[in-house]
């Protein structure tokens, strides 16, 4: 109907003459014409059908790309994945140069980097370098409740928290007085005005509900005993109760006067001991602990005074007297008695958040690095730089004339010089001659042979704990797993075909016995088969293959067997048999070709199955199954980094998911193409 004008429509009252009627093909004889189309085979037909299913073709394309990458990436990627490189540990993925706000540009967000409270910038000994920070530092102050190294260095203020411990005696909690004890001091009993004040952070204290905390200031004497240290506690104040008293400060204004009230001290002139803040464990408390927060101590004894709890506790944490003297700590060394738990509470610490260029940190230019004269000489010898020593005595003197040659531009780790150090010992004649300059880290690593090229590395999938390029690691793993998959699938098909063919073709008793055998073999959980084989003969590629092939063929055998049941009674088979065809000929020539489509499909679908199984095993039995550098092992190794460095597991999972999905789609497409009647079943 496309060309309506071409169709002749009879007009009204039109007369048709006899000439208008002619015989078509009057004098011709009609012959069968040869087919204009080309003959097609079963496979060509199947491929045609396959090409019509768009999703399967796309899947096949993705699959081809991934398999291609598994072959090409390990060869083309020069990065070393055998010797760990600490500098490159956990680098985020980097695809693009320049600042893209954190999207695949090799930067990561650092949240809690301690800052120097004085300057608001990174402290000199920070693990981060200020030249690698992208953008600005957003400072935020926070409270820290643990005496970490960062808190020790940069924290300030807060309270010392003493918590009465629960000393368990024969199943029952025996509350004991416990406390924080000053350094040892001598109290002159004839002197007035010896005082001590413990300031309590009443605002932040909270107690376990329905319990009472008692606390007081005390003088403590240590006595030797068989068990260890024993203490005698002389209260200097009444025992306060938190529920009623709630003091901000416990003050003893005249220690000597208080002590003289005790029996037996009237005769003494001086006493050696410790001043302490003591908490009594409430008698009604059995399982939870209460804490006293002390924010500062004032006293007439100068060396027990402190007003910054963080600083004070940092001092106390250094127990070695020599080290204490060296560090110039002012206050003495506080201790505790009867094991209260002492910890820091709400130490203020300034943290900074910023985006950090991990690549700049690992591979970029680092200023202020000292180069020895030998190194400088070696650079000069290689023709990378020229440098004229000025040799003015002293550190940090002005540097001499420095130039990079064209070759040095590419290779030399020293990029520019900032200063020169020169020192000559007049007595021994020893000479120290150094240059302080900017070091190009990647050029140094490359010249040491630790990275492949003289250029800034760019890891598409980032790096793992060992500093290995995760892209290469992943795809070399994929290659191993794919190899395992193809081999296992091939072997399983051969075994399964033979088994299924024999079982299906002959039927009867043979079939029954063979079926029961596969049933039992198939009933053993795969993980057991795997473990047993690996435990008995060790873990290697061959062992894995063996374990996969031991039970893997059962599926193929089942499919083949049912195909044989379908076709063996067909008339053409009977015809062939009557003509004298042998069993082998019937099996391989007449029946098996019918099952080819199904078998090819199951072979394709077996490959992702093997990859999946291998990965599962690597996840489940990391100690037992070590198929080196397989895909599953690579993935399970980065499982522990999931929280901190999720990009590793994400990129690995995406590749895994792509492989699985495209193999499945591809396999389904193949099945539909080979077996159009099955189309749509379990889809």
């Amino acid at each position: 109907m496309e060309n309506e004008e071409d169709i002749y429509l009879p007009q009204e009252n039109e007369t048709i003459s006899a000439e208008d009627f002619t015989f078509v093909q009057k004098d011709e004889t009609i012959h069968d014409k040869k087919f204009q189309t080309k003959p097609t085979t079963f496979f060509k037909d199947a491929m045609k059908r396959f090409a019509k299913s768009r999703s399967s073709v796309v899947a096949a394309g993705i699959l081809a790309v991934l398999i291609g990458m598994a072959i090409v990436v390990p060869l083309a990627d020069q990065n070393d994945i055998e010797t760990p490189l600490a500098e490159a540990r956990y680098l985020p993925p980097k695809w693009f140069d320049g600042d893209l706000g954190g999207f695949l540009d090799g930067t990561r967000v650092i949240n809690n980097a301690p800052l120097d409270p004085a300057t608001g910038g990174l402290p000199a000994d920070s693990e981060y370098r200020s030249d690698a920070i992208v953008g600005n530092i957003t400072p935020h102050s926070a409270y820290a409740d643990a005496l970490t190294d960062a808190v020790k260095k940069y924290g300030k203020g807060g309270d010392v928290k003493i918590t009465n411990s629960n000393v368990e005696v024969e199943g029952a909690f025996a509350p004991k007085d416990a406390g924080l004890m000053s350094p040892e001091l001598t109290i002159d009993l004839n002197k007035e005005g010896q005082s001590i004040s413990f300031y309590i952070d009443a605002e932040n204290m909270s107690l376990v509900a329905d319990t009472d905390l008692t606390y007081f200031a005390a003088f403590v004497m240590k006595t030797a005993s068989d068990v260890g240290d024993a203490y005698i506690v002389y209260p200097l104040t009444p025992e306060y109760h938190w529920s009623t008293d709630k003091l901000d400060v416990i003050t003893v204004s005249d220690i000597a006067a208080e002590l003289k009230k005790e029996d037996g001290f009237a005769e003494e002139t001086s006493l050696k001991g410790y001043l302490a803040a003591v908490i009594g464990a409430p008698s009604d408390l059995r399982s939870a602990a209460n804490s006293l927060l002390i924010s500062k101590v004032e006293s007439s004894f100068a060396d027990i005074v402190w007003d910054d709890a963080t600083k004070a506790m940092t001092n106390w944490s250094v127990t070695d007297q020599g080290a204490r003297d060296k560090a110039g700590y002012e206050t003495g060394y506080y201790t505790s008695f009867n094991q209260p738990l002492t910890s820091i509470y709400h130490s203020q610490i300034l943290y900074g958040s910023f985006r950090y260029d991990a690549y700049q940190h690992a591979f970029g230019d680092k200023p202020g690095v000292t180069f020895s004269s030998n190194e400088i000489q070696s650079f000069i010898d290689k023709g990378w730089i020229t440098y004229e020593w000025r040799l003015v005595p002293g550190d940090g003197m002005e540097a001499g004339a420095f130039t990079l040659t064209a070759e040095g531009e590419k290779y030399c780790p020293l990029r520019s010089v900032q200063a020169e150090n020169y020192y000559k010992n007049s007595r021994t004649g020893a000479v120290r001659q150094e240059v302080v300059g900017t070091l190009s880290l990647y050029r140094r690593l490359a010249s040491n042979g630790q990275i492949a090229k003289y250029e800034m590395p760019k890891y598409v999938f980032g790096t793992d704990y060992n500093g290995y390029d995760f892209l290469k690691l992943l795809f070399s793993g994929l290659l191993v797993s794919l190899g395992l998959g193809f081999l296992a699938s091939g072997i399983n098909i051969v075994i399964g075909l033979i088994w299924g063919a024999v079982s299906g073709y002959f039927g009867g008793t043979a079939d029954f016995i063979m079926e029961r055998f596969t049933e039992i073999l198939g009933g053993v959980p795969f993980i057991i088969v795997m473990t047993l084989i690996v435990l008995l003969i060790g873990s290697s590629f061959g062992t894995f293959l063996l374990a996969l092939c031991l039970t893997g063929w059962i599926g193929v055998a089942g499919v083949t067997r049912s195909q044989f049941y379908r076709y063996k009674r067909r008339e053409y088979v009977l015809a062939s048999r009557t003509l004298g065809a042998s069993d082998a000929r019937l099996i391989f020539k007449h029946i098996l070709p019918n099952a080819v489509g199904t078998i090819v499909t199951s072979a394709v679908l077996m490959i992702p199955d093997v990859i999946f199984t291998e990965a599962n095993i690597a996840y489940l039995l990391p100690g037992t199954m070590v198929l080196e550098n397989s895909f599953g092992v690579t993935l399970s190794n980065v499982q522990k980094d999931l929280a901190q460095y999720p990009y590793l597991i994400v990129s690995g999972s995406i590749v895994m998911a792509l492989i699985m999905i495209s193999f499945n789609l591809f396999g389904n497409g193949l099945r539909d193409a080979f077996n159009p009647s099955l189309k749509g079943v379990d889809e």
Partner: protein, 353 residues
């Protein structure tokens, strides 16, 4: 009817036979692995004493005339020193151990754990883990069956529309993605949100905080659900759309039934024939735990115990766990086969042709 009963009895007996053969094979093979019990010397001593009690080993008696000679020549397999005395143990031959083992398990004595939790009854360890796995599985079944069936039916009724293709794509993705990938993504997602436990919490912690007790189920239940929801949806869609295009449904419509009447009365019922067995097998699967999930999330269920026992080479625990897994697996197959006949009377069980 008589045929059916005979067939069922035959199948059940065969399940027991298969289980027996599999367990026997596994036991004998596992005996080739050297067991190294963990714990203190005392615990190891009590493990070997238990092995002696079970009849797998015998202890050398110092009053034997050849005792010293045997010890000197090293003619013993294991030794442990407790209470200032050396105990020497000699392994019985494998076949004898096997026979003793058979006798023991018929009395319900599976031996004690060697390393996982030294000295504890292997069967009790598994029984302690079972409730965790069961609870998770039951919750996930009651979520995944209605959702899966619902999605499948919805997709089949809207066949060849964008809804159908969206559901199909999602189903395809979730079926293809391995469970550990799924769990990892769940953990990353929930870790990013914050406030969700990324590890299984102890019973005490859960009892103290009801909100936590609820939250700690979310990730594992989701991980378990996605897979089975998708499996159900895929299967239901395929079955229902096949039935929808059949002649009898066309007849029903021509007869004057409305679309919903025909779907509910005729199509759904018929499409359920292969799905009901699937649901039944899902319920049998309650007893088994997902190894990957329990391992990664740290759930003390039987899947996690199995993996730990395998890593520790704790043979008694492996044997109990295997017995559970194998029996469940075989019974699931059996019940699926039998249920076909119950759901669809046209299928005669054990029919010759």
């Amino acid at each position: 009817m008589k045929d059916t009963v005979k067939y069922v009895i035959q199948r059940v007996l065969f399940v027991f036979l298969t289980t027996f053969v599999i367990l026997s094979l596994t036991y004998i093979l596992l005996q080739c692995i050297k067991v190294t019990p963990g714990g203190t010397d005392m615990q190891r001593w009590s493990y070997w004493e238990d092995q002696v009690r079970l009849g797998f080993y015998r202890v050398l008696d110092p009053s034997d005339p050849d005792y010293l000679e045997r010890v000197a020549k090293g003619l013993f397999d294991e030794t442990v020193r407790v209470n200032d005395r050396n105990y020497y143990y000699v392994a019985e031959p494998i076949m004898k151990r096997y026979v003793m083992w058979l006798g023991n398990i018929f009395r319900g004595d599976w031996g004690v754990s060697s390393k996982l939790s030294p000295g504890r009854d292997a069967f009790a360890i598994l029984m302690a883990g079972l409730p965790y796995s069961m609870r998770l599985n039951i919750i996930s079944i009651f979520i995944s069956i209605p959702l899966g069936l619902g999605l499948g039916i919805f997709a089949a009724l809207k066949k060849n529309t964008w809804i159908d293709s969206t559901i199909s794509v999602i189903v395809m993705v979730f079926i293809s993605v391995p469970s550990f990938v799924l769990i990892s993504f769940l953990l990353i997602a929930f870790g990013g949100v914050g406030g969700w436990p990324l590890q299984w919490q102890s019973d005490a912690a859960a009892a103290a905080d009801p909100a936590l007790a609820f939250k700690m189920y979310v990730i594992p239940v989701m991980a378990l659900c996605f897979g089975s929801i998708c499996a159900f949806a895929r299967y239901t869609r395929a079955e229902l759309s096949e039935v929808m295009s059949s002649e009898f449904l066309l007849l029903a419509r021509t007869k004057g039934l409305s679309r919903s009447q025909s779907v509910i009365r005729h199509a759904l019922r018929n499409s359920m024939v292969p799905i009901v067995p699937m649901i039944i097998s899902e319920f049998i699967g309650i007893l088994s735990g997902s190894m990957v999930l329990e391992q990664i999330y740290g759930i003390p269920g039987i899947g996690g115990i199995f993996v730990k026992a395998l890593n520790d080479r704790d043979v008694p625990v492996i044997m109990v766990d295997m017995a559970i897994y194998t029996t469940i697996g075989l019974f699931a197959t059996l019940i699926i086969d039998l249920s076909y006949g119950v759901v669809d009377p046209r299928i005669r069980m054990g029919a010759r042709k």
